[in-house]
């Protein structure tokens, strides 16, 4: 401790520079993590809000909702609590005068289903051709009472309520009932249990019996991973983050090793004086931990600061538990990096210092 910290104080420039390098690495790790979280959130925020456990899709849909076609009547094949039909439509939301245009993810479900979001203003859907919009759409300029179109049909719907932030596949969401959704899609059947839906979302459920036709049961986790592009995006960003841990380890390792080589004569003198390998390694560890802590803390501070001033369109989410984990990983990389010099320190022969 004493040796390590005293040396850092005396060699401020040298150790400040390395702390700076670690700071940059930590900053990139946290920024990438924040972006990965932001993208992930943009894809799944609406799904997370459902607090559901299972999704049923058509088994020929390759576990993708947009490719899945079922009938409302298929719900009879399921038993359990809180089973909600879900129809989805990804399209352009626009006001009737075309002044506002936004790519949006529209969901249709039964009016009383647990999937319907909690309202912030307006009222629940209680009639034909009504929609609820997320805070993101409200922020984009859509208002209560406004008439809008979604997708390619001429059907107009009226905004009657707004709820909190919600996105699905990087697009803000809106909710309506099943019949309205089918009218928006231009489906031939817009009432009764022969209407099409894309799937069923449930909290607790199972198949009623072994014969369940085209239905396939997915966990929510599988459903999210199968969102188009989701796992590829997350894998790419996470791989970059993991590489940065290795780079941090290598930088500390190389730097400490070069310094150790440089300081061999000094370490020889220390050993002559009865200050052994353990104490010398403790000094190296103290230094690398101190530099890592400085770099990580500043990196976190700057990341959180940047997150405040980032443009709203940039998906960025600070997840403290995850950032804490990554900080520990960076710290561990620094410790391992310093320990790479262990053999070199151990091999220094004090007799050489006397010569």
């Amino acid at each position: 401790m004493y040796l390590g910290l005293k040396e850092m104080r005396h060699e401020k420039l040298r150790y400040t520079l390395l702390s700076g390098v670690l700071l940059l690495i930590a900053l990139v790790v946290f920024m990438l993590a924040g972006l990965a979280n932001g993208l992930s959130n943009g894809n799944r925020q609406a799904v997370d809000a459902w607090q559901a456990r299972t999704v049923y899709l058509n088994k020929n849909a390759n576990q993708t909702m947009s490719a899945s076609q079922l009938k409302l009547a298929d719900q009879k094949k399921l038993s359990g609590k809180q089973i909600a039909p879900l129809a989805s439509l990804s399209g352009t939301l626009r006001t009737t005068n075309n002044h506002l245009k936004t790519t949006a993810s529209a969901f249709g479900t039964s009016r009383t289903s647990f999937l319907m979001p909690k309202l912030v203003s307006g009222h629940q859907i209680n009639g034909k051709n009504q929609v609820l919009i997320s805070a993101d759409l409200k922020a984009a300029g859509y208002k209560l009472g406004q008439k809008v179109r979604i997708g390619t049909t001429k059907q107009t719907v009226k905004i009657v309520g707004t709820y909190g932030k919600s996105t699905y596949m990087i697009a803000p969401t809106l909710y309506t009932d099943i019949a309205t959704m089918n009218r928006l899609k231009g489906a031939p059947i817009t009432s009764g249990d022969q209407q099409t839906v894309n799937g069923f979302v449930t909290k607790e459920s199972s198949f009623k019996n072994a014969k369940h036709g085209d239905l396939e049961k997915l966990s929510i986790a599988t459903f999210i991973n199968k969102l188009p592009g989701y796992s590829a995006e997350q894998l790419t960003l996470n791989t970059m983050i993991y590489f940065l841990f290795v780079i941090a380890l290598a930088i500390i390792g190389i730097f400490m090793f070069v310094l150790t080589l440089q300081k061999q004569p000094l370490f020889g003198v220390l050993k002559v004086q009865g200050i052994g390998t353990g104490h010398i390694l403790a000094a190296l560890l103290t230094q690398s931990i101190a530099m890592a802590v400085i770099g990580i803390v500043l990196g976190l501070g700057i990341t959180v600061g940047l997150a405040q001033i980032m443009p709203a369109g940039l998906p960025f989410v600070v997840n403290w538990a995850q950032f804490g984990g990554y900080s520990l990983a960076l710290l561990a990389a620094s410790v391992v990096g310093a320990l790479l010099s262990w053999r070199t320190v151990a091999k220094i022969d004090p007799a050489v210092a006397i010569g």
Partner: protein, 226 residues
């Protein structure tokens, strides 16, 4: 006669094997008691440093015994030898004894840190005063003159209150007046504080203050005085 603090008996030291073997020491016998200032004098390459490293337990002799306060050193574990070096031996090298990033007082504080005890402020002040270093107590090694640096090395060696101080050509980097000054102070410490001090040198003019002088030539040690 008092027991020797440090005794080396029938020490042989060879480096390498076969026809490339170098014999650095042949049947060296040596002892030093508390309060004695002993010089080992010999030309370059005669085996002086080899002798000191063996005495300090930094190298093991090919043959023979090193006894510190009557205990055989070779029988100890590596860890025990490290502790022995730390507690019982003060080493003064030719130069670069000091840690560049610690000031004079901190060099002493480090000793206490390693020994896990509080800084002995009064002892430090007293030793620094004895060696006329009070004014440079907060200076870094790079700010000191060669003579001051060697005096700090002496203070550092004495500070831990070792049984033996081994000095390997402590005046090699100093001019004659400063060399004489440093040697006089070593003699003084031996006599005043009952330390066993062993100084290696190749300079005949510096051995006037010594109680015992050993001559070493081509690895053969002979007792000359005392």
């Amino acid at each position: 006669m008092t027991q020797a603090v440090l005794a080396l008996q029938h020490i042989d030291k060879q480096f390498g094997h076969g026809h490339t073997a170098v014999t650095a020491l042949t049947d060296a016998n040596f002892e030093v008691s508390a309060g004695q200032f002993v010089a080992i004098i010999g030309p370059s390459g005669s085996g002086k440093s080899t002798f000191l490293t063996i005495a300090a337990g930094l190298q093991t002799p090919t043959k023979g015994q090193v006894l510190l306060n009557g205990t055989e050193l070779a029988a100890q574990s590596e860890k025990a030898r490290l502790a022995y070096r730390f507690n019982e031996i003060g080493f003064i090298l030719q130069s670069s004894n000091l840690i560049p990033f610690l000031n004079v007082t901190e060099q002493l504080k480090l000793v206490d840190k390693m020994a896990k005890r509080p800084f002995q402020k009064d002892r430090a002040a007293q030793l620094l005063k004895e060696l006329a270093l009070s004014d440079v107590a907060t200076a870094y090694p790079s700010e000191l003159s060669g003579g001051e640096r060697q005096r700090v090395a002496i203070v550092r060696a004495l500070y831990n209150d070792p049984s033996v101080i081994l000095a390997d050509e402590p005046t090699a980097s100093l001019d004659t007046p400063r060399s004489i000054d440093v040697v006089e102070r070593l003699a003084n410490e031996a006599h005043q504080h009952q330390k066993a001090i062993v100084m290696v040198t190749h300079d005949q003019r510096l051995i006037g203050n010594c109680d015992v002088v050993y001559q070493i030539e081509d690895g053969v040690m002979t007792r000359q005085k005392g």
